[in-house]
C-alpha cells in the first residue's frame, strides 16, 4: 500500500473539513489561554486552500503540499500561518519527485516537516504547543515504519501518539506563544495548536487508509 496523489488531496481536503467542523471548538480552546482566533484563522486559511487545490492540474504531491503551504502563509496570519505553512512546505520539499509515498516516505516527510516547524517556532516538546502532538506522531510513525508495520497500523499508531500528546498538554505550563504570558494559569487547558495538529494527523490516517 502506498499513498497516491488522490489520497494526498483527500488528506488536505479532510484536514480542511476537520478544521471547519472544529472551528468553534478550537477558538474556544484558544480563548481559554490565547486570543480566541485559532479556529477562525485556520478555517479562513484552509477554505482558501480548498479553493486552490481543487483546480490544480497535473500537479504532483510536492506541488499539492507547497500550494497548501503558500496559501496558508498568505491567508492565516498569527503564528499559525507561518507554522502550518512551514509544516506543509516541509512535507512538499520532502516528497519532491515522488508519485506515491511508502510508509517510510511519509514517515520521513512528517519528521522533516516537524523539524522545520521547530526551527521556525523554536519550541521544544513540553512547551505546550503543536510540537507536543506532532513530535510524538512523527517519532511513532518512524518507529512503526522501521518495525515494518503496515501503512494502516503505522498511521493508527501515529494518530494515537498525536492524540496522547495533545491530551498531555493539559497539565503543562506554556513556555511559547501567547499562552506563556499566563504562567501557571495556562495549566489545566488543552493547547489549541496541539489540537489542530492532532486533527491534521487524524486527517492523514483517514485519507491514506481509505479506498480510492
Amino acid at each position: 500500500m502506498a499513498v497516491t496523489y488522490e489520497q494526498g488531496l483527500a488528506f488536505v481536503q479532510g484536514f480542511a473539513a476537520a478544521i471547519a467542523e472544529n472551528k468553534a471548538y478550537l477558538t474556544q480552546l484558544d480563548s481559554e489561554i490565547g486570543d480566541a482566533d485559532h479556529g477562525t484563522n485556520m478555517d479562513r486559511g484552509m477554505q482558501a486552500v480548498l479553493a486552490k487545490v481543487g483546480s490544480l492540474e497535473g500537479a504532483d504531491l510536492s506541488q499539492l503540499f507547497k500550494t497548501t503551504a503558500m496559501t496558508l502563509i498568505s491567508t492565516v496570519g498569527g503564528a499559525s500561518g507561518p507554522l502550518y505553512g512551514t509544516l506543509f512546505l516541509g512535507l512538499g520539499t520532502a516528497v519532491t519527485g515522488k508519485t506515491e509515498l511508502s510508509t517510510e516516505d511519509w514517515g520521513q516527510a512528517l519528521a522533516a516537516a516537524v523539524q522545520a516547524v521547530r526551527a521556525r517556532g523554536k519550541a521544544q516538546p513540553g512547551d505546550k504547543t503543536m510540537i507536543d502532538a506532532l513530535q510524538p506522531a512523527a517519532d511513532s510513525l518512524r518507529e512503526a515504519a522501521q518495525d515494518g508495520a503496515t501503512l494502516e497500523a503505522a498511521l493508527a499508531t501515529c494518530e494515537q501518539a498525536a492524540e496522547q500528546g495533545m491530551q498531555a498538554t493539559i497539565p503543562l505550563v506554556a513556555r511559547k506563544g501567547r499562552a506563556s504570558y499566563l504562567g501557571e494559569r495556562s495549566a489545566g487547558h488543552q493547547d489549541p495548536g496541539a489540537t489542530s495538529s492532532w486533527l491534521l494527523v487524524r486527517a492523514a490516517r483517514q485519507a491514506f487508509t481509505a479506498d480510492t
Binding site: 477558538t27 480566541a36 482566533d37 502563509i73 496570519g77 500561518g81 505550563v173 504570558y181 504562567g183
Partner: protein, 333 residues
C-alpha cells in the same frame, strides 16, 4: 455581541475603506493585500518605517501613517498578525532607496510573519532592519515565556523614530534610536472588562462585576493577576510601582508619561488616572517632561488603561515635539 458592524467578515476591509474616505489627504490604502501608506510614498532617499499587527488596536497602526510617523502599516485580521506577503508588498511600496525599518511588537505571530517578510524583501534587494518592542513589565519571567509583550512604547517609538526618519536619519541611526526608545520605555496595563473579537462573537474572558485584571495584554489575553476592584489611585500605584522599579526610573529623570485608554474607558477616567500618576511620580522625584493621554493603543471595547513611562533625553524630546500629521496624532502642522 452588540457591535456597530455590517458583516463580521468585512470588519477590517470596511474600516480601511472608512479611513481612506476620511483621510485621503494623508494616506492611501491598498486592498488584497491590505496596507496603508502615506499619501506621498515612496519618499525618495528617506528611511521608511513599516509597522503592523492585528487590527483592533486603532488608531495603532493605520492611524499613525503620515508625515513624521509611519510610512506604512499592515493591518491583520482582528488580533491576528499580518501575513508575510502583505508586509512585503507594503515594504516595497514605501521603499525610497534608503532602507526600511520594521517596528515589530513582541508577539510570536508578529515576529514570525515579519521575519519571513524581511527575508523576502532582502531577496528583492531591499535593506531591512527590524526592531522588536518589548516593554510590558507585566511579563516578569522572560526566560520561560515568549518574552515581554510590545505595548505602549510602540506608539512613542513610532512617533520619535518617524521624526528622525523625516529629518533623513539613516536606517542604522533610526534603528539604533528605536532600540534606545525601547530600552527606556516600560508599560503595564489593566482591564475592567473583557473585549469581544467580532469573529468569536463572545467575550474573550469573563471578569466579574467586582473584579479587575492587572497586567492585561492588548489582545484580551488574561493578565497576571485577578484582584478585587480598587480605586483609581490604588490601581495607578499597582501599575506604576512595578514600572518605576523595573527600569528603574530614578529621582531627577524626565519622562514622557503616557496614559492610554484600552478602548472602552472614557477620558474623564483617564484624567483621573493621570492625576494619580502625576502625584505618584512627584512623590518619587520623577519629572513629567512630556505627556500623552487618550486611547492610542486599544483592545477593541475593553475598559481599562495602561501606563507607559519613557525616560527622555534631549534628542527624544526634540523628536517628540517635531511636527506630525497622521489621522491619529497631529501637531506642529
Amino acid at each position: 455581541m452588540k457591535k456597530l458592524i455590517n458583516r463580521v467578515e468585512d470588519v477590517v476591509k470596511e474600516e480601511l475603506e472608512g479611513i481612506v474616505a476620511a483621510h485621503s489627504d494623508l494616506v492611501r490604502v491598498h486592498f488584497a493585500p491590505n496596507y496603508v501608506v502615506r499619501v506621498d510614498a515612496p519618499v525618495s532617499g528617506k528611511t521608511a518605517l513599516v509597522s503592523g499587527g492585528g487590527s483592533g488596536h486603532e488608531p495603532m497602526h493605520g492611524g499613525f501613517v503620515g508625515m513624521g510617523m509611519l510610512d506604512a502599516a499592515c493591518p491583520g485580521e482582528v488580533f491576528t498578525s499580518p501575513t508575510p506577503d502583505q508586509i512585503l508588498e507594503a515594504t516595497k511600496a514605501v521603499s525610497g532607496g534608503a532602507g526600511v525599518l520594521h517596528i515589530v511588537k513582541n508577539y510570536t505571530g508578529d515576529i514570525l510573519n515579519f521575519e519571513m517578510a524581511a527575508d523576502l524583501a532582502k531577496a528583492d534587494d531591499i535593506e531591512v532592519e527590524a526592531v522588536v518592542i518589548n516593554d510590558d513589565v507585566a511579563v516578569q519571567d522572560s526566560l520561560y515565556t515568549a518574552g515581554r509583550r510590545g505595548v505602549g512604547t510602540t506608539v512613542l517609538a513610532e512617533k520619535i523614530c518617524g521624526a528622525a526618519a523625516e529629518a533623513h536619519a539613516s536606517l542604522k541611526d533610526v534603528a539604533e534610536l528605536c532600540r534606545r526608545v525601547n530600552a527606556n520605555g516600560r508599560s503595564m496595563g489593566m482591564a475592567l472588562t473583557s473585549c469581544t473579537v467580532p469573529a468569536a462573537g463572545k467575550p474573550t474572558f469573563d471578569l466579574g462585576e467586582q473584579e479587575m485584571e492587572i497586567g492585561i495584554g492588548i489582545h484580551g489575553e488574561p493578565g497576571r493577576e485577578r484582584r478585587a476592584l480598587a480605586s483609581a489611585d490604588e490601581v495607578v500605584e499597582m501599575l506604576t510601582r512595578p514600572i518605576v522599579e523595573d527600569l528603574p526610573f530614578k529621582r531627577g529623570d524626565s519622562v514622557l508619561a503616557f496614559v492610554n485608554g484600552m478602548g472602552g474607558t472614557p477620558l474623564i477616567e483617564l484624567y483621573i488616572v493621570y492625576r494619580a500618576l502625576s502625584r505618584y511620580l512627584d512623590g518619587v522625584g520623577v519629572k513629567i517632561g512630556r505627556k500623552l493621554i487618550g486611547p492610542y493603543i486599544t483592545s477593541l471595547e475593553m475598559a481599562g488603561c495602561s501606563i507607559t513611562l519613557l525616560r527622555l533625553d534631549d534628542e527624544m524630546t526634540r523628536l517628540w515635539d517635531a511636527p506630525v500629521n497622521t489621522p491619529g496624532l497631529r501637531w506642529g502642522v
